[in-house]
Subunit: 348 residues, 2 copies
Amino acid sequence: MSERITIALDAMGGDAAPGIVVDGADIARERYPHVDFLVFGRAADVEPLLARKKQLQAVTTFVHTDSVVSPDDKPSIALRSGRASSMRLAINAVHDGDAKGVVSAGNTGALMAMSKFVLKTLPGVSRPAIASYFPTLKGESVMLDLGANLSCDADNLVDFAVMGSAFARSVLGIMEPSYGLLNVGSEEKKGPEHLHEASSILRSVDLPGAFHGFVEGDDIGKGTVDVIVTDGFTGNVALKTAEGTAKLINQFVRESFKSSLLASLGYLLARSAIKKLRVRVDPRRYNGAMFLGLNGIAVKSHGGTDALGFANAIGVAVDLYQQGIIEKIEAGIATLQRDPPKAKIATG
Amino acid sequence: MSERITIALDAMGGDAAPGIVVDGADIARERYPHVDFLVFGRAADVEPLLARKKQLQAVTTFVHTDSVVSPDDKPSIALRSGRASSMRLAINAVHDGDAKGVVSAGNTGALMAMSKFVLKTLPGVSRPAIASYFPTLKGESVMLDLGANLSCDADNLVDFAVMGSAFARSVLGIMEPSYGLLNVGSEEKKGPEHLHEASSILRSVDLPGAFHGFVEGDDIGKGTVDVIVTDGFTGNVALKTAEGTAKLINQFVRESFKSSLLASLGYLLARSAIKKLRVRVDPRRYNGAMFLGLNGIAVKSHGGTDALGFANAIGVAVDLYQQGIIEKIEAGIATLQRDPPKAKIATG
């Protein structure tokens, strides 16, 4: 039997909160019978929903707060005026040892700012990153950073490689993950200087898995490497471009099936196969952006997700804790053997 | 009747050159009866192919050269030692007025370096950009830069907006193109400083079409704007990510149809519709990366393309000339009304 663990939930974050949070927790309760929930939100909104889920209620501690971080709040504002918000209290619960991880579908910038402020970055890590995983031709890959750090230097990217490798081993179950730096060409001389510097560091250190070198945008879908390392600007654009292209092609496929009577009939016959395809690329399967590099587990669910997606984000938090992501990242950072003064600057 | 024009072709560039070049020119000859060809390459390789295409031969002037730019040549090497290469002679033909545009499927970096050296950038344009267009939910859009300039300042991006707008009007037939800056969020405060600066310039100048503001990665597939403006690093990653994702989803769809007997039968019925879909997203339809901002028309065909794709790249060169892309860019740059000293620095 697994040790019982508690996950803190921000009930008020997300387009359809608190409904998706409560329903998502109820799905996660069935999947993870050893998980308790510590739920923060407005009693008037949340308690009636919980009252209808007796089994969930039995494993849930609910804490009322009137304060909520709005989706439009700037991170700095949320940090200052959201000290009693459901989001902040859920993060505090991780810091205080009352929960092993926090999940919120709320304002990403606010969640990152608060998590960083409350949980702090791990020693030796200069900046936390946002990571997410997605389907590829070969299975699943993870990419980071997705927007926490718009521009990055070589050391930041090396940290991200450490964190991404730990994530691949913890959640994707890939014991020797390959990792690559996203660039405009795979040749060694291509691209900007800080990528060459990061590449040369990654060649010299002994991280679990294998450094592949540079990868290009089309390597993301190919699954050339298990971990794609890039700055937050490029990663954010690449992930959203991939999402947009997937939607475009799906729409083209749908239109094709509607374009003639024969095609419609063909669609009817192939329907169950096409449904399986939808499941395969269902964004809810890949819901949950992980904040890596913090001294605590924080998972950001997509704001527009439904209960199933939220349950999956809870699952990611459970996996991250049970697989010891933080210890894996600490061990990886230790292998970098940075000079102490440099490490000091990097953590400052 | 259209004025007769000549297009210069580098017969030796591309994985399957010179075959695809000669066959591509023959397809283009049928489509554009008013076009003559000036073809540069090794006589021993090219002349036998031309001899088999009597109608093409009739509108073609062939010039022999032994020198060829190799796909692995660094741009600086190609520039120095490729002065008699088929690529260089084809570019020279545009500079000398012997051709209205040049098309090559050879080494991209060499083609850009030589084109920039021979044709020069247009007055007021600081840096030329590589542009390409692709299908979206709403039709077609163009994106630039795709890799000529890895990092860009605000003025570079403004230039690209001018060039992209001219391209959309010339080749895509969109008279009032909308254009946007690729960023990590659509809100005005998101992203790095140079994007804010570019945005504020674009709001203040009077370019044809409408400035939409910031767009995100998923707006590329949606077709939110007709022209997507970004630096060469981000644009290169985004375009390749989109290509990779399209291949991934296509592969998933193929596998779905093979997953059961019913699905296979469904595929048979829907086959002609699926074929139409393939035509719709056929990369050969979108073959041809345009070098914009130069004082002459240069089109880079994909190195791995076939004759049909090469013919399409020739078509793009013909369109660019006939729609007066260079005059449109000059007019756009003039509307920027930059202070003369600034313009001087920018062109330096």
